[in-house]
């Protein structure tokens, strides 16, 4: 969009900036839906302050003719709804950026050479009848620039508001039109036209964010119990399961604290439910004793941990990949675990679904490690395929001589549940004998440790291999895990180098054995992580015995941007 008036761009990045409670989310919601229903690929993510009102938040929306799934620093169009918007984004606004807003509001911050569309949102909205319509006015302005016909937008608007009173719908249509018309009549108006993909496939795709993908995956995995305590940015999964889970018989309980949450969920698994908890770092710290309990009881448990920057309260609404070590080593004593870190919405869905089966099968804690960036981002993606999903219930009906911790050939003792069968189910947090009774038989202790730790090998056999993208004969390997994947992928794609591939881990523990070879093949390895201590690189060193050449780290509370990271990588390659 070097010269937006002439260029037919195919990838526009739009940033909405305003105060909390100011309606940028409404603009986002309407605008992205309009664009998607017109066949465009859309992506959106937000960054926000830890406050209910005021402060400055921003939303990035990307519109393209090709799939877009990553954050970029570049701002083609900035819609500034509040004083301070431009300053707030000063590192990202350039002379190329088209600024849309009320000149009155933004004038202090606008520099001479900047391109500006001065559109009096509030005034126009008042003309329609109420200031609240200024959001829709802004949408009208945006679609005019994106060359979408008002009729096409209006159809979509009607859908969005279909449950609202007719008068309100009409007013919104009016506001959209007014925004559109005011903008196209601007003296310095120019627009871009992206050809929408001919296939029309986008329309059938779904638009979900990371937390919805996790929540849907949980339902698909047979989750019927969630006990949790609210904590940003993990609450959205609790909210999702309370709201949507209702129709699926999911019992959603807000616990008094995180300790209760995890102990309640472990109790639920004991009685045959499929339970999960959702939390963030600080809440999880409180759960670590419970994780150790699951280790000893050999109880399944699924834990969704959405990371935010620490230590302590840290930056509650920002993002970081800072709790990998915590999750790896949480809980006293030694016992195995499984850690997934989805980097795509599909992975979030399928791996969460899978987590319930694996937890049940191996009787271990399974983690879904996401972060604020991941749960709050969305793009269009294929509807999740339920044919690939199956709830594998691994519990058995017990016989009279049932022993919960029977020493078997393969480390796994069949899991009974109370009330199903003639046996008794004895779960014990002390070191126990095969029946589940406290023991001080120290030879048995060794067997029980070996049994518990031995499961790790079985688990490893089912580990998800890392995904390799790019040329097969790579010299450089850019390694990433979890939420950074789409960003790194776009960056490396952009660089288009024949010598560089991306290796993406969505299961970070235990590592698939194949990972070692893939990494050792590279002449140069770079690990990109959203933290300060290079935790995944450390994990690779211990568990894959590889030493990486470069760590690219970011720990200011924001995610990476594909355009900036591309430059940074290029320098290292």
């Amino acid at each position: 969009m070097t010269n937006p008036s002439t260029k037919k761009g195919n990838d526009i990045s739009i940033v909405l900036c305003g105060q909390a409670g100011q309606g940028i989310q409404t603009v986002e919601k309407i605008f992205t839906r309009i664009m998607k229903s017109n066949g465009y690929h859309v992506y959106a993510t937000k960054e926000y302050m830890s406050r209910v009102r005021g402060g400055l938040n921003s939303i990035l929306i990307r519109i393209s003719d090709k799939p877009v799934k990553a954050f970029v620093d570049r701002i083609d169009i900035l819609v500034g709804l509040n004083k301070g918007s431009i300053k707030h984004l000063k590192n990202r606004v350039t002379s190329e950026t088209l600024i849309i807003g009320e000149k009155e509001v933004l004038s202090d911050e606008i520099e001479d050479k900047q391109k500006v569309f001065d559109i009096p949102f509030t005034e126009i909205a008042s003309g329609v009848g109420n200031k609240v319509f200024s959001n829709t006015v802004a949408v009208g302005a945006l679609i005019s620039i994106l060359s979408v016909k008002p009729e096409d937008a209006i159809n979509c608007l009607k859908q969005i508001f279909k449950d609202k009173p007719k008068e309100l719908i009409d007013k919104n249509i009016e506001a959209l039109k007014a925004g559109y018309e005011t903008t196209v009549k601007l003296e310095n108006f120019y627009s871009v036209k992206i050809e929408s993909p001919a296939s029309g496939s986008v329309k059938k795709q779904i638009l979900v964010n990371g937390s919805e993908a996790v929540g849907l995956g949980a339902i698909a995995g047979g989750c019927n119990f969630i006990s949790s305590y609210p904590m940003s940015p993990s609450t959205s999964v609790l909210v999702f399961l309370a709201q949507k889970g209702k129709d699926f018989g999911v019992l959603a309980e807000q616990a008094e604290d995180e300790i209760s949450a995890i102990n309640m969920a472990i109790g639920a698994w004991y009685a045959g439910a499929r339970a999960m908890v959702t939390t963030s770092g600080g809440g999880f710290a409180l759960m670590t004793e419970g994780v150790s309990l699951a280790g000893m009881l050999e109880s399944p448990i699924v834990i969704h941990l959405a990371q935010r920057p620490g230590p302590a309260t840290g930056l509650p609404t920002r993002t970081e990949q800072g709790d990998l070590d915590l999750v790896l080593y949480a809980g006293h004593g030694e016992f195995p675990r499984i850690i997934f870190a989805p980097g795509t919405l599909e992975d979030a869905f399928y791996l969460t679904q899978k987590a319930f089966n694996l937890a049940d099968k191996f009787q271990v804690p399974v983690f879904i490690l996401t972060d604020q960036y991941f749960v709050d981002s969305y793009y269009n993606t294929e509807p999740f395929n339920l044919k690939e999903c199956k709830v594998e219930k691994h519990f058995i009906e017990t016989s009279e001589d049932y022993q919960r911790y029977k020493l078997t050939e393969n480390e796994i003792s069949p899991r009974g549940i109370p009330g199903l069968g003639k046996g008794l189910v004895c779960a014990d947090s002390d070191e126990h004998d095969e029946e589940g009774h406290i023991t001080e038989d120290l030879e048995l202790r060794i067997k029980m440790v070996d049994k518990r730790l031995g499961k790790l090998d079985l688990i490893k056999q089912e580990s998800v291999p890392p995904v390799l993208l790019g040329p097969e004969n790579y010299e450089n390997l850019v390694i990433c895990w979890g939420s950074t994947f789409n960003i790194i992928c776009e960056a490396v794609n952009y660089l288009g180098r024949k010598d560089t591939a991306v290796l993406y881990f969505n299961q970070v523990y235990p590592l698939h054995d194949g990972a070692i070879e893939l990494i050792k093949k590279a002449k140069k390895t770079i690990v990109v992580e959203n933290n300060a201590a290079a935790q995944f690189a450390r994990l690779l060193k211990i568990h894959a015995d590889v030493k990486v050449d470069h760590n690219v780290l970011k720990y200011d509370g924001l995610c990476f941007a594909s355009d900036s990271i591309a430059e940074e990588l290029n320098e290292l390659l």
Partner: protein, 288 residues
């Protein structure tokens, strides 16, 4: 009466000779026999402590979890399968100290479980430190100048939280204890039975004799439906009244209130995901 159904035969019990825990174990077994509850249908949930070892000494399903954490799993179990009889049983330190927050909020939540507390006014397993119910002045290896904290009054707090069933017994009276345990189990909702239990090893203050001298029975005419009266009696400290302090017959249990069993009363383990419904939920995200 022999408690055969629940009997474990000749096992090694880690309690001291003369400990009040034995009486509670017997009372519990007998109450369960009398109520004709099958061991396979009972789940005993405990924490850690001397009292919390009780599930190892009778034939039953059990969940012997973490110190202080008997109530959350008990709630999770009951809520996942309401047809089970669930008893959360532990010591005073476990339930009122480490687990104090769960005590409060489980009462508010009101699952249909019975909460039996072996109240020996001391931390037995860890060798004699003060527990929340220890009396002022009680000298221990840690409270070297005697306890200076106000003793925790579980009954008064439970009544303040509007618990539905609140009782205290003394294991010196096995009959009353059995009777009250039975009533507590039959109560539909959270029921607290605080059982005064001498620890003959670490509590030389609150002995069998002390409990005999410092307790009395609520009179027959006492009306256990009056919350204010119950509070008043619960705060008596000269002598501790025994009996049922408070019953609120109007509460509905948590698991019913969740709505999960409204249309379907099968336990969660037997349910299947409605993939058709899920498919249509997912497809809604394709619409604007």
């Amino acid at each position: 009466m022999k408690n055969e159904k629940y009997d474990m035969g000749d096992i090694d019990i880690a309690w001291c000779p003369g400990c009040g825990n034995f009486g509670i174990l017997n009372a519990l077994k007998q109450a369960m026999e009398e109520l004709k509850i099958e061991p396979t249908n009972l789940v005993l949930v405990s924490g850690i402590g001397q009292a919390a070892k009780i599930p190892h000494y009778l034939k039953t399903n059990f969940f012997n979890g973490l110190h202080g954490r008997a109530l959350p799993p008990a709630t999770g179990i009951k809520a996942s399968n309401p047809s089970l009889t669930v008893i959360a049983e532990s010591g005073d330190g476990d339930m009122y100290g480490e687990g104090g927050n769960h005590f409060i909020h489980t009462i508010r939540r009101n699952p249909n479980i019975t909460n039996i507390v072996h109240d020996n006014m001391v931390y037995g397993l860890t060798k004699g430190q003060a527990s929340p119910t220890s009396r002022r002045g009680f000298v221990t290896p840690v409270q070297v100048a005697g306890v200076i904290l106000e003793p925790f009054n579980p009954l008064a707090v439970a009544i303040a939280l509007n618990a539905g069933f609140v009782a205290r017994t003394f294991i010196g009276d096995k009959e009353q204890t059995i009777e009250i345990i039975k009533q507590a189990i039959n109560y539909k909702g959270y029921a607290l039975v605080d059982i005064l239990q001498p620890c003959v090893t670490f509590n030389k203050l609150n002995t069998y004799q002390w409990f005999k001298d410092n307790t009395y029975y609520l009179e027959d005419s006492y009306d256990c439906h009056d919350r204010n009266a119950a509070f008043k009696r619960a705060t008596e400290s000269d002598k501790l009244p025994l009996g049922i302090f408070y019953i609120n017959p109007e509460k509905t249990p948590f698991e019913e209130n969740t709505g999960v069993y409204k249309q379907n009363d099968t336990p969660l383990y037997s349910r299947e995901v409605d993939y058709g419904k899920l498919e249509s939920l997912i497809s809604k995200y394709a619409l604007v």
